[in-house]
């Protein structure tokens, strides 16, 4: 299950080698490397401002990298924009999803790439509804009615529809920007399940999150960023959930915080106060 790549014949789908990005005099990213293989999930973890969004924007073609190399299918590229990334099968699902709440699921699903038929180039509504329904079912997404407005879906369902849409439109590499961050535990679970499902279909998934508890169960590789640099790359076999959590929170910093918080009630509050929780 956790074999560290037994001499793979095919080059990785995406690979970043020591990439860096500078905005004016701000170094947003410095010397970060990562690998994404088909059928695997690479998790990018980090706190706010760690450089996660800069990295995915380079991968998605929104920004060009200033140093290092970005390889797609083993050959170095410099993407001209998100459209070019899409043409290479790199799809990005951003937090805000690019879906229209008032429009139905099937209209959203095909927005911008509507199937047409006949001499009048009519929008093939029957096909759009059927395909949307099939694709969602294929991803195991249980939506009762593709006619309902996207606004009536829960956050997790919306993420799932966006993922299914990217998969349908030929994504080989799927970049998910904080898909679980705004969700409750149950909804996040639903989205994680769809990430696993996309992986099982042979896609490579880059999963950006600041929650190691979401990343660990589904990830094959982990990249931890802090203040624009890499804190380390790990295969799942090489790291435990606790180590990942501790690393992400800045190890010593977290220990210090734990220490500080643990002493707080004893110092200010009455000693007789009931314990706030039984952890």
């Amino acid at each position: 299950m956790t074999v560290p790549s037994p001499a793979p014949p095919a080059p990785p789908l995406l690979e970043a080698r020591e990439v860096g990005k500078v905005f004016g005099n701000v170094i947003a990213l410095r010397g970060v490397s990562m690998v994404l293989r088909a059928g695997e999930v690479t998790c990018v973890l980090g706190d706010n401002g760690a450089g996660k969004s800069t990295l995915i924007k380079i991968l998605a073609g929104v920004h060009a990298h200033d140093s290092g190399e970005y390889l797609v299918d083993g050959s170095p590229v410099r993407l001209g924009g998100p459209r070019e990334a899409l043409d290479r099968g790199i799809a990005t699902v951003y937090q805000d999803l690019a879906m229209i709440p008032l429009m139905s699921v099937w209209r959203n699903f095909f927005l911008g790439s509507e199937p047409v038929t006949g001499p009048l180039r009519r929008f093939d509504v029957a096909r759009a509804k059927r395909v949307a329904r099939e694709e969602l079912r294929g991803m195991g997404i249980d939506i009762r009615d593709v006619d309902q407005p996207v606004g009536t879906l829960s956050g997790g369902e919306r993420q799932s529809v966006a993922i299914a849409r990217a998969v349908h439109f030929g994504a080989r590499a799927l970049i998910l920007d904080e898909p679980t961050s705004a969700l409750g535990v149950k909804q996040a679970g639903v989205v994680l399940r769809h990430i696993a499902r996309a992986r099982d279909r042979g896609l490579g998934v880059v999963f950006i999150t600041h929650n190691p508890h979401h990343a660990y169960p589904v990830g094959d590789r982990f990249l931890v960023l802090n203040r624009g640099t890499s804190l380390g790359r790990f295969a799942k076999a090489d790291i435990t959930r606790e180590e990942l959590t501790s690393l992400m929170a800045g190890g010593a910093e977290l220990d210090h915080l734990t220490h500080e918080l643990a002493h707080e009630p004893g110092r200010d509050g009455p000693a007789t106060a009931p314990a706030p929780g039984t952890s």
Partner: protein, 344 residues
């Protein structure tokens, strides 16, 4: 995941929701109520002659309301649409009567400034990102001044007349402003144009890529752009569509009366918007229907003539108008909240 009874309950809510979120629902209920009310007051109102009578004002208003509805679904307003019906009519009648153009040719010539103004409105809105309310308020006032100034400069009065004597008038009138007799009752041809425009707009909205894009740019323009919808082109196209509708209505009105007042269409722009809103269009865009806008226009036609048939003072029309608008927007906002409400 959920138990079977819970799923069935949700499915039931889904059907109810689908019925309730039809944008036309409010206007259909309103139209039935208005029809029932005036029918009970006046026998003429519900007779075939009466129907033909109130379908007449509904038709030209309906053509405009449908075009405005498309634009509003796309998230924009056009306040210049009303006065543009005057502009196109004035161009047509002036060319035909002062310069001796054939009426058909003069009519086609009227389409040129209409499309240019529509394009300009659209371009200004897209490029400056100013609210279309302000941009088209500007063009509205400018056109109002132009209509009056040029008409006075050319004719010395505030109207251009004499179209009836122009070459090709009878033919053009028969096609656009004549009547069709069915069952001994004269129905205006404009009613059929109205139906055709409504059908075409509905088809575009529901069954073409452009329709999907119109809903999308009105619903969330940024998101629509992100998936490759050519938002600027769609918007400019919508403004040009409104202008084309204004040209059609301007031509119909000019052919019908044989003359055009310089002030034609002023004040109508809000009636179009009100009809579209009664028909379920949201002021914020992204939602609405062409059929609804047509039914909104129908309500207007019925109220306009119904008040006369009932023997009331026509002043009450405005009161009625305001009340309808308030009720419709209230119903729409409730529907929208229901449709957008996230399921927990």
């Amino acid at each position: 995941m959920t138990s079977v009874p819970a799923d069935e309950r949700l499915a039931g809510a889904g059907v109810l929701r689908r019925l309730l979120v039809r944008p036309e629902l409010g206007s259909v209920v309103g139209a039935l109520a208005v029809f029932a009310f005036f029918s009970s007051r006046s026998a003429v109102f519900r007779s075939a002659d009466g129907v033909a009578n109130w379908l007449d004002p509904a038709s030209t208003l309906g053509i405009m309301a449908v075009a405005i509805a498309l634009l509003m679904i796309g998230g924009e307003f056009d306040l210049s649409a009303g006065v543009l019906t005057g502009t196109t009519g004035l161009v047509m009648v002036t060319l035909a009567t002062r310069f001796g153009w054939n009426v058909w040719l003069a009519m086609l010539a009227g389409l040129v400034p209409a499309l240019a103004i529509g394009f300009l409105n659209g371009l200004l809105v897209v490029r400056t990102r100013l609210p279309s309310f302000i941009v088209t308020l500007g063009t509205f006032l400018m056109l109002q001044g132009l209509n009056l100034g040029l008409t006075k400069a050319i004719t010395g009065t505030v109207q251009v007349s004499g179209l009836r004597r122009a070459e090709g008038y009878e033919g053009a009138r028969a096609v656009l402003a004549g009547s069709v007799t069915a069952g001994g009752v004269d129905f205006r041809v404009a009613i059929f144009w109205w139906l055709a425009v409504t059908a075409l707009a509905t088809w575009v909205l529901m069954r073409t890529r452009a329709g999907n894009w119109i809903f999308a740019i009105g619903g969330d323009e940024r998101a629509a752009r992100a998936v490759g919808v050519p938002a600027a082109r769609v918007k400019i196209g919508l403004f040009m569509t409104t202008a084309t509708a204004a040209w059609l209505v301007g031509s119909i009105t000019a052919l019908r009366f044989g003359s055009v007042q310089a002030g034609t269409g002023i004040g109508q722009e809000f009636i179009y918007i009100i009809a579209a809103v009664i028909g379920g269009c949201l002021l914020t865009g992204g939602y609405g229907s062409a059929v609804g806008a047509s039914i909104g226009a129908l309500i207007f036609g019925m109220a306009d003539k119904g008040i006369v048939f009932a023997g009331w003072d026509a002043d009450w029309f405005k009161f009625f108008l305001g009340a309808m608008l308030l009720l419709a927007t209230l119903a729409n906002s409730l529907v929208r909240r229901y449709a957008e409400e996230a399921r927990r």
